[in-house]
């Protein structure tokens, strides 16, 4: 039976540039914009800790926060791939579900600093008004005239994965005919300082799953996926670019910033997503790992993959994109889709040396795959673990 939830189109913007072609090129070559965030982050630490930035030439102009502009840029590509216009979708029950972290946080640091000195300026009221009265999800719904549910998912670094999973559940429940979903986040002082002060940021390019891994590099980006019910896809004449086959989220309840060392929550999420999809580990072409290159994350993931998904190739992509926080899972869902539709898993850039404690070596060169579905995982502060099972365009053919 054909899956109920189709991916009509997808779009992306990240340190590789704008668009899926730029991302695919970055995944092939390992090249992307990795630099100190001078001019973007006003921190005394900004001369030591580089990040993955969207190249200047690709930063979309316009009004609203960067996170909103990134998401709308990705959304346009998703509509274009699907061959539909927002106007066509506005005639259906179309929702918007966006995962984010920075975009939903009270990150108006300069205004806050002025307020704390009793020196608030008129412009601060506009900045605070923007923050307290809108969100990327609401702004996107308004921009495109969509009238279905609107949700901002804030499960930290699992937000993007959860947003896609919940959006798929809206389709499966019959709540929506279509959902524009994904994730978005921008570089900002708060997470920049925060991750460095938690001592999990690296001064070098991250090395996922490596013995000598030294932490994460934060990044920025967005992706948007246009999900359609099967009947909406048929009505609109959209040939699916892929499918959302399963989703689950399980909480660790272990620690505010570290996963359970044996990945209990992640194991539950992967098992739950597989169960929902009706598939087995052996059906998976590859795993897109969260693979932040922090000691704790990579160890917990390795434990679970060795237990539940032994033998399935693993790809780790944050060596090209950085850790895009609330957008990470959503961009990685698009990466998974690209790999499935190209029949190829891309190298895990940054991986250098096997860690004997992990018993895991990720894919290091392009590898052909013939299976048509994959699992994409995200782990987050607060103990959230989420997994998606995605099918490529040939799934079920």
């Amino acid at each position: 039976m054909k899956p109920a939830c189709c991916i009509g189109g997808a779009g992306v913007i990240c340190a590789c540039g704008a668009g899926k072609d730029a991302l695919w090129n970055g995944l092939q070559t390992g090249r992307s914009c990795f630099a100190l965030p001078a001019g973007r982050v006003n921190s005394a630490l900004a001369d030591r800790y580089p990040v993955f930035l969207i190249p200047k030439k690709d930063i979309p102009a316009g009004r609203g926060s960067l996170s909103l502009r990134y998401f709308l840029t990705a959304a346009q590509e998703a509509f274009s791939q699907a061959g539909v216009t927002p106007q066509q979708l506005a005639g259906l029950c179309t929702g918007v579900c966006v995962g984010t972290s920075v975009d939903a946080s009270f990150h108006c640091f300069d205004s806050y600093a002025r307020w704390s000195k009793n020196a608030l300026e008129e412009k601060d009221v506009d900045i605070l008004q923007d923050y307290f009265s809108s969100s990327t999800a609401m702004a996107a719904a308004k921009e495109y005239g969509f009238t279905g549910p609107v949700q901002t998912v804030v499960t930290a670094c699992a937000s993007g994965t959860d947003a896609i999973g919940l959006a798929a559940s809206w389709i499966n429940m019959g709540v929506c005919d279509a959902v524009l979903c994904g994730g978005t986040d921008e570089i900002n002082l708060i997470p920049y300082d925060g991750f460095i002060r938690l001592l999990i940021a690296s001064k070098e390019k991250c090395k996922p799953f490596s013995k000598n891994r030294a932490g994460i590099n934060i990044g920025e980006g967005a992706s948007a996926l246009l999900l359609l019910s099967r009947s909406a896809a048929e009505k609109l004449g959209v040939a699916p670019a892929g499918f959302v086959l399963g989703y689950a989220n399980v909480c660790d309840g272990y620690h505010p910033t570290a996963p359970d060392p044996q990945g209990k929550g992640l194991a539950g999420a992967v098992s739950g997503a597989l169960k929902q999809s009706g598939l087995q580990a052996a059906d998976m072409a590859f795993i897109n790992a969260h693979a932040t290159a922090s000691q704790a994350n990579d160890a917990a993931e390795a434990f679970v993959f060795n237990q539940l998904l032994a033998g399935v190739p693993i790809c780790a992509t944050k060596g090209v994109t950085g850790h895009m926080l609330g957008a990470a899972g959503a961009v990685e869902a698009v990466i998974s889709l690209l790999c499935l539709n190209h029949g190829q898993v891309t190298p895990s850039w940054g991986f250098e040396e096997e860690d004997p404690a992990l018993h895991l070596v990720p894919v290091t060169q392009n590898e052909a795959v013939s299976k048509t579905c994959a699992v994409s995982c995200s782990l987050a502060f607060g103990g959230c673990n989420a997994a998606l099972i995605l099918g490529g365009r040939h799934y079920g053919a």
Partner: protein, 265 residues
Amino acid sequence: MALDLYIEGFAVCAQEPKPEDFSPWFEARRLRRVDGLSARLLLSACRALDMAGQPVMQEKPFGLSLGVGPGSLQNTCKFMDSILQDGDELSSPTAFAGSVHNAPGLTLSLFLNLRGPCVTSGQFNTSFGAALLTARAFLHNGMAPYVLLAVGDSLNPVARALNGQYPARLAYTPAPDTAPVQAAAFLLSPQKTPASKARIMDFDFTFAQPAYCPAVGEDWAPLAAAPAIQLCGLLERPGHHFTLTASSLGVCSFLKGESFYAYQK
């Protein structure tokens, strides 16, 4: 959206929780590092579980759907204060970790031993509808046998001060005299049980649907928890049927149900 959800237990936290409020379940010392928003959500959740006759501390595969307005502003401001006072190099990692929107999710899952799905929604006044929709998805997909839905706010001094100065310009800025401590929780089931207190029969959560959205009264506090607290009030009231409409920022929640609770009391 046709929907059958059963409310097994519900509770409001209307005042700042004191350590002794938790004494039926936890030692006060366990709460030393719990921030205000998490404490309010936790107390509401304990009471809702208790009312439903469910174990509070025992490990359980229940889901958790949180709605938190703008997240833990208390911790976000603490983190920014630490940057301002101590500089970037000595800013507080603890405050940063606590500022993450779903940090209260960790507190609740730790204390209540919840091992099901956990998702937090953060969109100011409209978080309740989003969290209810998520709870519905968890139950519909069989991801959990019960879902704890909890909604709360963390008000910040900047927003309060700005509201005094610019009342018409900011949507999510409670008036300076708004009670700063509000949270509510519900335990939801997909099936009717002997503990069921109410049934939610219909629920719409849509953007810009004026048909369902009458003007919001002036006494309506612009907070994430407001509709949840309103719902608790409706459940307490005698009478079978209730409707709840909440509208803000173009997003509308419309909910229709019947209460058994007043007749059980």
